[in-house]
């Protein structure tokens, strides 16, 4: 019995339920948000230390042994993702205290945030492919509601695209699960992995691999399936944007890592080229899209797409080092991208707009904010010694070792283009003088408890920004111990037998004997 595997899912659900109970009491909901996410972080660190000691930690839900019940399983990858989720959750909860107006809080902002985190944590921990679908839907429904909170025109238009394409991805995912079940007769991912290796129609396995690639590709916003992301991520309140930017696409990336290393590792000679060129085009289109934009959050949205390319490239190169680099990129990106969105919220709060042309002069006015932006932006572009440099360095090195010179060259070139966009924001927002037509920057106000307009507390907004910027620096400075963790992840993902043994336990032999036996044995036990 290992409760720490189930708790990261249960805690946000509990916090969400408590928030719902206190529907009318905003202070109580705010308290639950911070306390609940703090508890989540503690549990996440507990899970991380357990996984660090034992390698794999599993819990069989309801006491039903795998492959019959649902297994929650944490390997190093899941544990790292859970820790990051909890950190972003806490940072966002604190930031939301100041940035979210009562008109949003009244309509269930905090309960939805907890449910979203529960969905994300569930997706990271589950060992059952249909359960993964369910957690995806939990996450999606919460994100739908958060996306339209406030009900502005742009939000509705963005939401229609977001909802349609994400539902389409879900249906493709569900279709693939149905066909997969028809082939192997099980939903447990470890069990599927064993049976797929012995499957009769390897051509069908490749078709399924591509279906999963498309479904998760849409969720991860990979080329050419990313259009919903830049059309919707700049529309909701900024804290919601930041939460989406940090976590949601990464769940798609995580799922790609999981299914392609565990279940479809033998189709790699067919799917590898698709993944590599998908990754290369994702990087290029994302960064080119950003170059044309002059709206703070839209530039950042296109850069999410571009960065997803690096993560998928890490998977596509398919060596332990490349996977370590890909996961390093995920970790770095979650911290940095969330922080950039949070900074865009502060600048909007200070100058009343997201349009770069209308902003300016913040370097003089807020030097520390400029430093935080500088750290995050140049980390995104991959300047040493910040976190992005090591992510890029490891992927590039893995690319050269795998002799994939063209994509490696593209990855390096995209780094320069990222720098261009970041310098553009730096010049427009921080460096140049405030344009004269933006007379007095109107500070954003929110409606207080008593209906009066109040100025949100800047202190609460800058605290998470400062911490996340410092983390980006610390990830860079302490890259060595983190790289040890990443290498563990690379080894674990490239040797799925450890995962399979951890999930199925002593049943592995039984299942292997069943696969050896004629097929008629399976239908009538």
């Amino acid at each position: 019995m290992r409760p720490e595997v189930a708790l990261p899912v249960l805690l946000p659900l509990l916090s969400g339920a408590i928030s719902l109970l206190f529907w009318r009491s905003r202070p109580m909901q705010r308290f639950t948000a911070v306390a609940g996410n703090l508890a989540l972080l503690v549990v996440a660190l507990w899970l991380f230390t357990s996984v660090h000691q034992d390698g794999y930690v599993t819990i069989q839900m309801g006491g039903w042994e795998a492959p019959y019940g649902i297994t929650l399983v944490a390997d190093m990858l899941s544990a790292v993702m859970i820790v990051l989720t909890a950190m972003i959750g806490l940072a966002l909860a604190i930031y939301s205290l100041a940035s979210t107006g009562s008109d949003h809080e009244k309509f269930g902002y905090y309960p939805l945030m907890h449910l979203l985190l529960a969905g994300v944590a569930g997706a990271f921990l589950t060992g059952d492919i249909f359960n993964l679908y369910v957690w995806f839907e939990v996450m999606l429904v919460a994100s739908f509601a958060l996306l339209i909170l406030g009900g502005e025109k742009a939000q509705m238009e963005g939401a229609i695209k977001y909802v349609t394409l994400n539902l389409l991805a879900s249906v493709i995912f569900l279709t693939a699960i149905g066909l997969l079940y028809g082939m192997v007769g099980t939903l447990n991912m470890a069990d599927i992995a064993l049976r797929l290796h012995a499957a009769e129609h390897q051509g069908m396995v490749e078709v399924l691999a591509v279906m999963f690639m498309v479904a998760f590709g849409i969720k991860a916003a990979a080329f050419p399936l990313f259009f919903w992301l830049p059309a919707s991520y700049h529309t909701p309140p900024v804290a919601v944007s930041a939460l989406f930017a940090g976590l949601l696409t990464k769940v798609g990336v995580y799922s790609l890592f999981r299914v392609f290393t565990l279940m479809f590792d033998e189709t790699m000679d067919y799917t590898q080229d698709l993944l590599i060129w998908g990754a290369a085009l994702t990087m290029v289109t994302g960064v080119l899209g950003a170059a044309a934009q002059y709206e703070f959050r839209r530039i950042l949205s296109f850069h999410i797409v571009s960065q997803i390319g690096y993560m998928i490239l890490g998977l596509a190169l398919y060596t332990p080092l490349a996977i370590a680099g890909g996961v390093f990129a995920v970790m770095h990106n979650i911290v940095v991208k969330t922080n950039l969105f949070l900074i865009s919220g502060i600048t909007r709060h200070l100058q009343g707009t997201y349009q770069l042309k209308k902003m300016g002069g913040l370097y003089k006015e807020r030097p520390w904010l400029a430093v935080a932006f500088f750290l995050s932006a140049f980390s995104l572009a991959g300047i040493p010694p910040l976190s992005g440099f090591f992510a890029k360095f490891v992927i590039v090195r893995a690319g050269i070792e795998a002799e994939a010179y063209v994509v490696t060259g593209i990855a390096l070139a995209v780094g320069f283009m990222t720098l261009y966009s970041m310098v553009k924001i730096w010049n427009e927002v921080f460096w140049k003088a405030l344009p004269e037509d933006n007379l007095v920057p109107e500070r954003e106000t929110v409606v207080g408890d008593d209906g009066r307009m109040v100025k949100p507390s800047l202190w609460l907004m800058t605290l998470p920004v400062g911490v996340l910027a410092a983390m980006s620096l610390l990830i860079g400075v302490f890259a060595e111990p983190l790289m040890v963790v990443m290498n563990t992840i690379g080894d674990q993902l490239m040797n799925p037998q450890g995962y399979i043994d951890a999930v199925l336990g002593s049943n592995v032999d039984v299942i292997e004997a069943l696969i050896e036996a004629p097929a008629s044995e399976e239908t009538s036990p």
């Binding site: 339209i148 229609i160 389409l168 569900l174 009538s524």
Partner: protein, 115 residues
């Protein structure tokens, strides 16, 4: 039975995608509804259809006799139906609100966020 189901499911997918490619947001949502139903039927069919053999274990035995229907896809489909119901309810409310705000049942008029 399976070939018939396969044809019906294929037609459902085709109709759904045709509707989703229309510009009207109402047809878009109807397309989504057909699509989720098609996926549910597909799970049901691909797991193998066994008629008239409920997965019941006779009294005093530990395993069912002979070939029985697989209960797992039915549980999976049931879950998927409930999820699709919730999500589509949201989608219907969304297009209503979008229609109220944009005042058009036309996706080509909803391009504000694309540029």
């Amino acid at each position: 039975m399976e070939p018939l189901m396969a044809i019906a499911i294929g037609m459902l997918y085709a109709a759904a995608i045709f509707l989703m490619l229309r510009r009207s947001i109402v047809k878009l949502v109807i397309g989504l509804m057909l699509l989720t139903n098609a996926a549910n039927l597909l799970i049901f069919t691909s797991a193998g259809m066994t008629r008239g053999a409920p997965p019941l274990i006779p009294e005093g035995m530990l395993v069912p006799e002979g070939v029985v229907a697989d209960p797992l896809p039915q549980a999976v489909v049931l879950t998927a139906i409930v999820i699709a119901f919730g999500v589509l309810a949201f989608a219907v409310v969304l297009i209503r609100r979008a229609y109220e705000i944009v005042k058009a049942d036309d996706l080509d008029k909803m391009k504000d966020t694309d540029t």
